[in-house]
């Protein structure tokens, strides 16, 4: 019998295409006749548009059309419909698209775009989440109360900048505080930042005379695009066809529907001709959505021996100028607000607020890395106050089976995973016992920090996935799913699941890399580290469906009952006597009897999956079941700080997470390392810098710095495997999780090394110097 390929380091299907330059991404396709649309973006962060003058632009060579917000006006959003794809009357952030210039070539469109003159009447700006909460703050959306609610669970407050308020009320706070012998409270501030997918967002659109709308996008959400384009433009859903090839990185940023609206508007403006709109890097950073900012207040109470008794968490989430998925991230923060600790008395408020900054969308970790920083920094302060080892404090409060989550989910081992098991492993991995602060030289200090995380998906309760499996006559199989390959080897992991379930050679499984919403079965969207679970379940079901068909036909060929037979080695054979078999190839396109007559036809397996028993959260208490399971983990970082010049080096970074079951160890380790690297970047260098007028100052990779080779630490990654019983092979999602607590661990280490509490990110050498000099 063949051995299982689950748990082996399979090489992704598209690997050789990617190392030879032959892998095609969306912008790799261009052709004569494709028109180019270039965005004119706002230079003002908040203001009325007094005048847009494109009289000169429209006369320039090659220019076909210039369109502005009035051309096709509607408001869009995935939670609250509050955003015009092209600004109407008012701009609310620097970089907001205000006009589109459509021309024969990119150079012509760009040249003309520089001649579009826009005049603004400046309005007072809102520069931070806390400023947005002030009673006298300018209203960024005076019409907030009139906006259409795209989902039911969103609670904007009229005549404020608050676009959502979510609460958790669990237990009895008075009791909790009364039982607390030590109480710690602290405030934190985390700026917005960017995804920086190496492929900038780009979309082509074309509208055919028969009403079909063809969209080619670099997106994580092809089915979402289809729905929204259909809804807003009034096209029949089935006539909108969205194609997504390989995507050059997403990290949540390409789940937002953004340039697609502009591309369709542009195509409409030129009688349906094909038009491409692409972000420059500067636009990808400043104009397309980014990561939430957060101001947090955390108050923890514990007994003298370090048992958490109460937790109060206030998260003011900056969504920028529009909501997109911002409010959902606020919800997501409340759902897991305590971190993976057992806190029986919980009071949590997440206020999502508008600011005059780039609007936000999902970002790896979906809000978890932001609030986890606040929780995990406070845990370290509590440990210091209690004089308890910070790792031990976490271990003794680690949430376990039998406890309930902040939203009241009764946790089992299968649902939760094993938090303390992760801590135990990370403790050894980082050699915690040698001490968390060691002076190695006159000016050099080596220090370690630890932090924990947990995350569940908080997906829509009606999210669904499907898969189809069609057999070729050579007994190879085609797998088609609606999930996008954005980088994590998703499609190959699904092929692995199919191959193992059907006992096929992995090389006999062919996966359609492109998603085409007309021919690919539905998948909600490729986000939330949920694809292996959701689509994996659909693939398993499709495999079983195909197996049943194969067994039925083979049973006729072998004159037995289907249940007598099993699959393997390219054959269908008797379970108790493999020498009696029929080749798989003989039964996957119908079985031909020796006399030439044929029975049956192509084997086509289908599978679907929807998550059962998820519930919307109660508006007043937050009670409900947000997701199917959690992925927990523990992380640690070791740094070396030079006390002389305030520079530091990140030496080692460790993650142990409960993966349920690791399907492809090297691919999984790569994802975790990549997420850790991104998180360490957020902790050490990445942030948006605004001037006094709230214009983004660092919108290029020259000024928005990401970590480069040689600056990364030694990565240490290991697993705990507590299966989630409802997942394929027990696997939990893990693609995002390496980011969640890593910068909390980094800053815990830096705070320990410097003897200074850092309550913000990033921590730059200058931050350390300023804190040391008492300047901030």
């Amino acid at each position: 019998m063949s051995t299982s390929i689950i748990g082996t380091d399979i090489i992704r299907k598209e690997a050789w295409d990617k190392v030879t330059g032959r892998a095609k991404y969306n912008s790799d396709i261009s052709y004569p006749g494709l028109l180019h649309a270039v965005q004119v973006t706002s230079t003002c962060a908040h203001g009325y548009i007094k005048r847009i003058d494109y009289s000169q632009a429209i006369t320039m060579k090659g220019v076909k059309k210039v369109i502005t917000g009035g051309y096709y006006s509607f408001l869009t959003g995935s939670v609250l419909a509050d955003r015009p794809p092209l600004a109407i009357d008012k701009v609310r952030y620097y970089g907001e698209p205000v006009a589109l210039v459509i021309a024969d070539s990119e150079a012509q469109a760009k040249a003309a775009a520089t001649r579009v003159v826009v005049e603004y009447e400046k309005l007072v700006t809102v520069d931070s989440p806390s400023a947005a909460m002030q009673p006298e703050a300018p209203l960024i959306h005076p019409d907030l109360a009139q906006y259409r609610h795209v989902i039911e669970q969103v609670y904007p407050a009229a005549n404020t900048n608050i676009n959502n308020h979510e609460k958790i009320r669990k237990g009895d706070m008075d009791k909790g505080w009364n039982e607390s012998e030590v109480i710690i409270e602290a405030r934190y501030s985390l700026p917005s930042a960017d995804h920086i997918a190496m492929e900038t967002r780009n979309v082509r659109a074309e509208i055919l005379p028969d009403g079909q709308v063809l969209i080619y996008s670099s997106s994580q959400a092809p089915f979402g695009i289809r729905k929204q384009i259909s809804d807003h433009f009034g096209f029949d859903l089935g006539k909108v066809i969205v194609h997504v090839p390989l995507v050059g990185g997403g990290y949540g940023g390409k789940a937002a529907i953004n340039l697609e609206f502009l591309a369709v508007m542009a195509s409409l403006a030129v009688d349906g001709r094909p038009v491409v709109v692409s972000n420059t890097r500067e636009q990808d950073i400043a104009s397309s959505p980014s990561k939430v900012s957060l101001e947090a207040y955390v108050k923890l109470g514990a007994s003298k021996d370090g048992i958490l008794k109460a937790g109060q968490y206030t998260y003011i989430v900056g969504t920028g100028a529009y909501t997109d998925t911002g409010p959902r991230m606020g919800t997501s923060m409340t759902v897991n607000c305590t971190g993976p600790y057992n806190v029986e008395n919980v009071w949590c408020d997440a206020y999502c607020v508008y600011t005059n900054h780039t609007y936000v969308t999902s970002f790896r970790g979906f809000g978890h890395s932001s609030f986890s920083f606040a929780v995990e920094r406070t845990m370290d302060k509590l440990a210091a106050a209690l004089q308890i080892d910070p790792l031990q404090l976490r271990r003794q409060n680690a949430i376990q089976a039998g406890h309930t989550s902040p939203t009241g989910v009764k946790l089992t081992e299968s649902i939760l995973g094993n938090v303390s098991g992760c801590l135990d492993k990370v403790e050894k991995m980082i050699n915690w016992s040698e001490g968390d602060r060691i002076e190695t030289d006159t000016n050099l200090v080596r220090a370690k920090g630890v932090a924990c995380f947990w995350k569940t998906s908080n997906s829509p309760t009606d999210a669904i996935s499907s898969a189809t499996v069609t057999f070729n006559s050579d007994a190879s199989v085609n797998l088609n799913v609606g999930a996008v390959e954005i980088g994590p080897s998703t499609k190959s992991t699904l092929a692995q699941i199919l191959a193992d379930t059907m006992k096929l050679d992995f090389n006999k499984v062919h996966v359609e890399m492109e998603v085409n919403t007309r021919t690919s079965p539905h998948h909600w969207k490729t986000v939330a580290s949920m694809t292996t679970f959701m689509v994996g379940r659909a693939v398993e079901e499709a495999a079983h469906d195909a197996i049943r068909q194969i067994q039925s036909l083979a049973a006729i060929a072998l004159q037995c009952s289907p249940s007598d037979l099993t699959l393997g080695e390219g054959q269908v054979y008797f379970k108790d006597d493999p020498s009696i078999f029929v080749d798989l190839a003989e039964v996957v396109h119908g079985y031909q009897f020796p006399d030439g007559s044929t029975i049956g036809s192509q084997v086509v397996g289908r599978g679907t999956y929807g998550m059962p028993r998820l519930s919307p959260l109660d508006r007043n208490t937050g009670g409900g079941k947000p997701g199917p399971y959690w992925t927990p983990g523990a992380q640690a970082v070791e740094i070396e700080l030079d006390l002389n010049d305030c520079s530091y080096t990140i030496l080692r970074a460790a993650t142990v997470l409960d993966a349920g079951k690791v399907l492809n160890p090297r691919a999984a380790k790569g994802l975790v390392m990549g997420a850790m690297g991104m998180g360490l970047g957020l902790g050490s260098r990445e942030y948006f810098i605004y001037d006094k007028d709230q214009r983004l100052q660092n919108d290029s990779l020259r000024t928005y710095k990401v970590m480069r080779i040689g600056e990364q630490p030694e990565y240490l990654v290991d697993w705990v495997e507590t299966p989630h019983q409802a997942s394929p092979f027990g696997a939990r999602g893990l693609a995002e999780h390496g980011i969640i607590a890593i910068y909390a661990a980094l800053v815990n280490a830096l705070s320990r090394a410097a003897g200074i509490e850092f309550d913000q990110v990033p921590v730059l050498p200058e931050t350390i110097w300023q804190k040391r000099e008492g300047m901030i």
Partner: protein
């Protein structure tokens, strides 16, 4: 003297072939490769020289093709990722899982290939110096470093036994 005063056909030597391509003098080599010659392995990531996704070899040296005019490449040998054929660096990237989304991969591979050709004896410091020109947002760089080291190792002549 070479003079290109307006849009016109130029000849480029790419991957060992002489090819004609229509360019504006203001077009970058990246644009000419992708739009004119269909060589889309070199990727635009910033068009500002910051990310390295568009790296190709010019006269054997890695160059960011977004920071070079197509006109400058006239009379120079250009090699793109499409010009590599089963090179050790490609195999190492595959076998060591040195990419995820793959968008930065051609640029990294071309830079590494330049390094392997020019400094096969490169140590850690030189490897980092060279490869710091490229950004990868997926991997965290560990596997890329391993792949480049392995490919360097493979390219060195075996040490002869005394």
């Amino acid at each position: 003297m070479i003079s290109i005063t307006g849009p016109g056909i130029i000849e480029l030597k790419v991957n060992g072939e002489t090819r004609q391509v229509l360019v504006r003098p203001a077009d970058t080599l990246l644009h000419a490769l992708r739009e004119g010659l269909g060589l889309t392995g070199a990727k635009p990531g910033c068009e500002n020289g910051d990310c390295g996704a568009c790296t190709v070899l010019v006269e054997g040296w890695p160059v960011k093709s977004c920071l070079m005019l197509a006109a400058e490449a006239v009379d120079r040998e250009v090699v793109t990722i499409e010009g590599l054929n089963n090179a050790p660096i490609q195999r190492e990237f595959v076998e060591r899982f040195a990419f995820q989304c793959g968008y930065c991969t051609p640029g990294f591979i071309m830079n590494a290939q330049g390094l392997i050709d020019i400094h096969p004896d490169a140590g850690d410091e030189v490897i980092n110096d060279w490869l710091q020109s490229n950004i990868c947002r997926c991997t965290g760089y560990q596997e890329i470093t391993e792949a480049v080291k392995a490919a360097l190792q493979a390219s060195r002549p075996p040490i002869s036994q005394p």
